[in-house]
């Protein structure tokens, strides 16, 4: 186990014993949870509301938190995923994806880069059309760079189910992309 994980475990134990120690966990994870929430709701006030809900729920649930060996963040993501689902059960975000995703990939020549940027933009737009579970799994995997096991914790599913969601999601993207691709 690395020292970062050791430190996290220590912080968790302290926060479980004394809720006033929760501040250190908040400081450690606020940024990534807020960013994830914002990426899903795409509106600052809504992101603040949902993020507040996530951390308040986490603080209240800390005494019952069980360390399963997965990162603490996976648990926060789980609360966030549920909070977002509750809030937007019937709504879909309407903001343009290119407003959020940083498409400044480096490396290829300018023309190639522009084409690639277009394709990524198109793919991410398609991601937003995917069913909620597939979309969430893809975002956690590719945007939040989480491991399958941690996504499983966040989504309350088995790792096998998460793999299936991602595979189906990416397969669906390939099919959709083929349909949208202009004829050569």
């Amino acid at each position: 186990m690395d020292s970062s994980r050791d430190e996290e475990k220590r912080l968790i134990e302290r926060a479980k014993r004394d809720p006033r120690e929760f501040g250190a966990l908040y400081d450690r994870h606020f940024q990534q949870i807020y960013r994830f929430v914002y990426s899903r709701v795409r509106e600052q006030t809504a992101a603040e509301d949902v993020t507040s809900e996530v951390f308040i729920k986490a603080l209240r649930a800390m005494p019952r938190y069980q360390d399963t060996g997965r990162p603490f963040a996976a648990w926060l993501y789980q609360i966030a995923v549920n909070a977002i689902a509750d809030r937007y059960r019937t709504l879909r975000p309407t903001h343009a994806l290119e407003d959020f995703h940083d498409l400044s990939v480096g490396g290829p020549a300018i023309e190639e880069e522009a084409a690639q940027r277009d394709e990524i933009r198109r793919i991410w737009r398609l991601v937003e059309e995917l069913p909620l579970q597939q979309r969430t799994a893809l975002v956690l995997k590719f945007q939040e760079d989480m491991k399958i096991e941690d996504i499983a914790v966040a989504m309350g599913k088995t790792p096998g189910a998460v793999k299936l969601l991602i595979h189906r999601g990416v397969s669906r993207l390939r099919e959709e992309a083929e349909e949208l691709r202009p004829a050569e």
Binding site: A47, F100, H101, F142, I148, K163
Partner: protein, 734 residues
Amino acid sequence: MSDFRDPELDDLMQGDPELLRIARMLASSKSPQAPLDDAFRARLRRQLMDQAWDTVEGKRPWWSGFMAPQRVAWVGAAAVLVIAATVVYTVTQPVAPSTTTFLQISSPLADQQDVASVQAIPVKFNVPMDHPSTEAAVQVTPATAVAFSWSGDQLLYVTPKSGDLAPNTQYQVTIGPGAKAQNGTANSKPQTLTFVTASTPTPSPSASPTPSPSTPATTLTGERQLTTDYPTSDVNYPVAWSADSRTVYFVGPSPRGLESVSLSDGSKNTIVPDGVSIPTASPVFNRLAYVRNGEIEILDLATGRTAQIATSVAPTALAWVRQQLYWGSALGIFRAGVGEQTRVLTLPDPNDSVVSIAPDGNHALLANGQALAILDLSTQATSNVGQAGDSFVAWSPDGTRLVLQSGIYDSTGHQVSGIPPGDVSWSRSNEILIGSDTGIFEQAADGSGYTELEQGTFRSPAWAPDGSTFVFVRGSSLWVATAPSAGKPSSGHELALQVVSDFMQARLKGQDQRAASFLDAKGQAAYATGSPALIPQGSPGLRRWYRVMSEVNPVDQSVRVVVRLIFASGGVERSSTEETLTLVRAQATDPYLIDNATAGPQLQFGKGPQVIFVKLSPAKVAVLFDSDLLPTSVGSVTLQDDQGKPVAAKVDYSDRIVTLSNLQLVPGAHYRLVVLPGLQDVGNHNVAAEYDVDFVGPSASDPIAAQQVQFPGGPAGRPTSGPFRTPSASAPPA
């Protein structure tokens, strides 16, 4: 696109290049920072901390008031007003000198459980602090006179003026609302650090009924093979030694002759050619009795002459009681006299068989099917002993203790203690060897000093008369080795304290069966009432314990130990109770067991000074408190005799220790230490309630008292010169 490889992706996409391409494309688009209002981040943190603080304080959750439906409308309207007012205020106010909105403190000691007593308390702030207001806002519980030193503006060292912290004490260092940051921001909520100082030292010997061996030590010497001509069958009789510990007699393989081997030169002799069983050496090792062809033969080792005792039924057990031979057979138990034999008794049940006769001639072990029983040879009464399927291992040399596979028993069949599994040899100096296929272990008969001497195969060990040489069986060979000399035996007081330590550790771990193994019948009855509880349940839960006082009663050698049990919840120690344990043992080779336990009242922390440790000696009683005391109040620490009359004493106070001296305590007489509520700490808090500890006048020979056990961090434990040291935390600046 970056050319990274993620094994999970390869696995997920099952090698499909197009799926992999899309997946990598998704992964390559980085998420930029979302637009974030720092004020929101700080506000949410403060909201969380307020909620956390309210939870700790036991107040209603902050959101609970909002849950009442009839209040929602009012709350909504109020919130709008507050937000509007906040916006107006914020816009119209000049910019504050600092944007910091919430004071935070931290310390490497925070939440630690074993903090060294000689220690300054470092307190780190997240913002530069105003020194005077911060120092004025520092509160230390228990009340402690402290000095301050700063390293810069964000690190404060709080140093006890006495030079150290009290042992076994939960400290809470609070930075109150008066503390100000240098930008003028005032601390809005008290900030508290909590830690617990290290325990008082405890004696080292182990007297656990089921001990764990100390670190393996290869301390055997002279280990060598004596003979390869040793039977491998499961009918091996114990070897017999010569008086000088230089010759071993044993029954060899078929035709089972009586053999001897010299430790001096390795020479071997066949003493009796065949048919020998149960060789048994006399107590002074000058004669050897054995059974041959159904009759008893007695060999004089000095002359080589043999005498026969005719028996009509083959003996199953032989024993020397002083210089007289006893034997048992299906007809009863017999004793050999000069030219005659006497039947001591017939067996109570025709199905009984004699397994062994005790070396004191008072008892015999009988087997009847799977059951074992101890037979009293004088009363002919029997007592069941051991467990079903148990088997005989050895007698103690004095015959008062019987070792079975399941443990050590007294002559009434009562189990005195457990014993680790293995073959046992009990020496005349009450050192026990325990041999097995994995190693050889040594312990005192009372269970203390359990040590692994060597790893390997060491079956059937047998002490020589010299008490250091022993032989053992490894495969079909007989080996010899010398055990290290046993260390200085532990005193009864030390052994009793170790039993208490093991008992309390078992309770801490919730091991009720192990904890109960340290209790005798009366001790079990004391805990059967539930007050005190053997395994305390509920919240706050038992977190730790420490010893407040211990003493040996010079009259009956029982040991009384006062232990304090500390209960905590939410990471903070809330209360304590005391138990007075009385430990006894029937004889010096037995382990101590807890014979009685009484519980004292529950004490709340933070309610005035508390006694941490009491040290007794015939001329002096010293009492260590957790708080710095007002010297003018220490007259409230008094001593009474068994009539309740004050005992004259000179009372001194220094660094949390009140000393009553010029005493002439009578060994064995009863006294009571009384701490009256008039005692005050430097924070002007009185003792919450009168505190009493009963004790008997100690003996000057008690080694614990004789060692002049120091209070941890007490005067003798402190540096007598040089700068104040901080051995385990960062040092304050010079």
